[in-house]
Symmetry: C2
Subunit: 340 residues, 2 copies
DNA sequence: CTCCATTGTGACACCGGTGTCATGCCCTTT
DNA sequence: AAAGGGCATGACACCGGTGTCACAATGGAG
């Protein structure tokens, strides 16, 4: 029955509701005696301000929206975990918005979301972080936004990412250091900037180690398990099989592992396999996948924290709102020295 | 710049704001001419009502909360999918609330959620659907709620479930029909009612087919992959190994598969394995897992739809707010006839 | 002792909708 | 013709907070 309103508190404390409001918002110019009286009333009446009324007065909703379209449930969950943490810290609510659309339909859909909820800000996760039409649309509607894991920092918006290219470089170098020279690569979905970045890291590692790049060892996937199966079959059908496969994410890597075991290719004895993302499946299959762990929760947490801070403080000190966090190489059983 | 408010619409259409409100809410007693005039104004001004103001006037938030604590990311995502669908249809927003607490801390946490957001209703998913203290707490605070997949229908609240016991019965009978007699069972987390139900289905199938129940073939897991590994090692260490293992969910079943392959036990030639839930991992490992698919999205969708309908219509017709949906047996490669 | 700046406080309008009630009108009914 | 009922509409208060401004009390400077 928490029916306490600002009026009942004011009456109880014997002050005006404006004064109660001042105490609530920790405004200056309230005498200590009055403040304590009001705070006692808060406790006695078990009062909590009504966020809806506050929202109406401020023309704010205290809602942050999070847009995603990602086949990986674990990625989504991690994004949500970080997002919720940041929102709760700042007394905001999080609205999740999975969304498979593209193009104008996508913009209309986001528009509807904004108008329906009057959200205060939006977090974009891949692949939306890189879609220019969305960024421009949000700017035109004057909706603050932050980007998680964008491919480029060409924008002056809040952006938090990890270094996919560097991580892909490292994992490729790991394979090279194990003696692998014929390393197949399975690309991700072309909409995702990480697809380009990871491929680029792979290429740089080959180049640095003077290993010839063989286009036939590269196949295009789309991050789905199914696409990984297709690519694996193609790759294992080559007359000269590679000794290692680096897939752009763990689902595809898991599919490679499955196809390998269907073909009775032993992993890692005959084939080394590496993935990316450190999805749960990476340690739920046997052998466990060597992969890259990204700080997904932390990226999202940071992005939202910065976003909320940005429209809370009107000081235009504008620190550079862009940050790159460390990813981590995780070595499991799916990679080993080349045998020959 | 959608700045249109009900006042600007009223001015534009040359009527009072109350009349605009009437058109908005499709109330009777508005002349056709007036209605059309106002609707034209809506279009011309690109007007959308402000849900926050509406919420304040109604003392409603148009927010549904969803509480869960489930290790399975895919289950959570499916719950969210169904929940969002229902909420959007009814113009509500969904607030997700993952929550690992128990006991009083949990109640305090839920209380804080309710007060912070003023949500209109709550959906409970396992294991919270069965926690009496939560149900009583919500009743005492007069918060409407719906339960997804509760173990018992002892409550008069909205409840939507699928028949876990029946499904476990069917999958056990499948194994029996393949000639298995020594069927190990791995239980789930004791907090979840499905743990009891699935075990009970297993027992009933044994009994019906006159197969002796052997307690040493049952081990207690907790739905996690890790617990499945432990149980599998125990089971495969028995002097008389079973010919089949039925794990209470797919993560544990996948772990059984991993341990089997570490021990060079061929699946399904030497060991048949069955899971439950049809999680993505069930088809991402090799061989694919025979399992049970539950209509998780539909259960959640139905629960929320009923919940919102309940507090929308004040007619006290009270249809029975409880529903049981069908689960489906999915046969993949991990189960086969017993060889001996 | 005045003057003025600062501090503490409350009255009041406002955010954008909804509920209540009064009013004026038209059409029956007797 | 008078009375009564239903329909269409608007004035106004209200939901629970916040912003603006006025004003009294206080205190330090001249």
């Amino acid at each position: 029955m928490s029916k306490a309103t600002i009026n009942s508190v004011a009456k109880y404390a014997g002050v005006s509701k404006k004064t109660v409001s001042r105490v609530l918002n920790e405004e200056p110019n309230v005498s200590t005696a009055t403040r304590e009286k009001v705070q006692q009333a808060f406790k006695d009446l078990d009062y909590r301000p009504n966020p809806i009324a506050r929202g109406l007065a401020h023309n704010r909703s205290f809602i942050i929206g999070c847009i995603y379209d990602n086949p990986s449930k674990s990625y989504i969950t991690r994004v949500q975990t970080g997002a919720l943490l940041a929102c709760h810290e700042k007394n905001y609510n999080l609205l999740i918005h999975p969304c498979e659309l593209r193009g104008q339909a996508l913009l209309d859909n986001i528009d509807a979301l904004i108008r329906r909820t009057r959200l205060d800000g939006l977090v974009l996760t891949p692949p939306f972080s890189d879609q220019k039409d969305i960024l421009e649309f949000l700017k035109s509607k004057n909706i603050p936004y932050a980007r998680v894991a964008p491919g480029t920092l060409d924008d002056d918006s809040i952006s938090v990412r990890s270094n996919d290219e560097q991580a892909a470089f490292e994992i490729t170098e790991l394979l090279i250091s194990l003696g692998h020279k014929d390393i197949a690569f399975i690309k991700g979905h072309p909409d995702h900037s990480s697809t380009t970045l990871r491929f680029s890291g792979y290429l740089k590692a080959l180049k640095k180690n003077n290993i010839e790049f063989k286009p036939e060892l590269v196949d295009e996937g789309n991050f789905s398990y199914h696409s990984g199966e297709d690519s694996a079959r193609k790759i294992f059908n080559l007359s000269k099989k590679p000794s290692a496969v680096f897939a752009s994410n763990d689902y595809m890597a898991a599919a490679v592992l499955k196809v390998a075991s269907q073909l009775s290719l032993k992993v890692p004895e005959q084939i080394s396999i590496a993935g990316f993302d450190n999805a749960p499946i990476a340690r739920h299959i046997w052998p466990g996948l060597t992969t890259i762990a990204q700080p997904v929760e932390k990226m999202t947490y940071t992005a939202i924290s910065k976003l909320i801070e940005q429209f809370t403080e009107q000081d235009e000190k504008i620190p550079l709102h862009q940050e790159t966090l460390e990813a981590q190489l995780i070595i499991r059983e799916s990679t080993d020295k080349v045998k020959s």
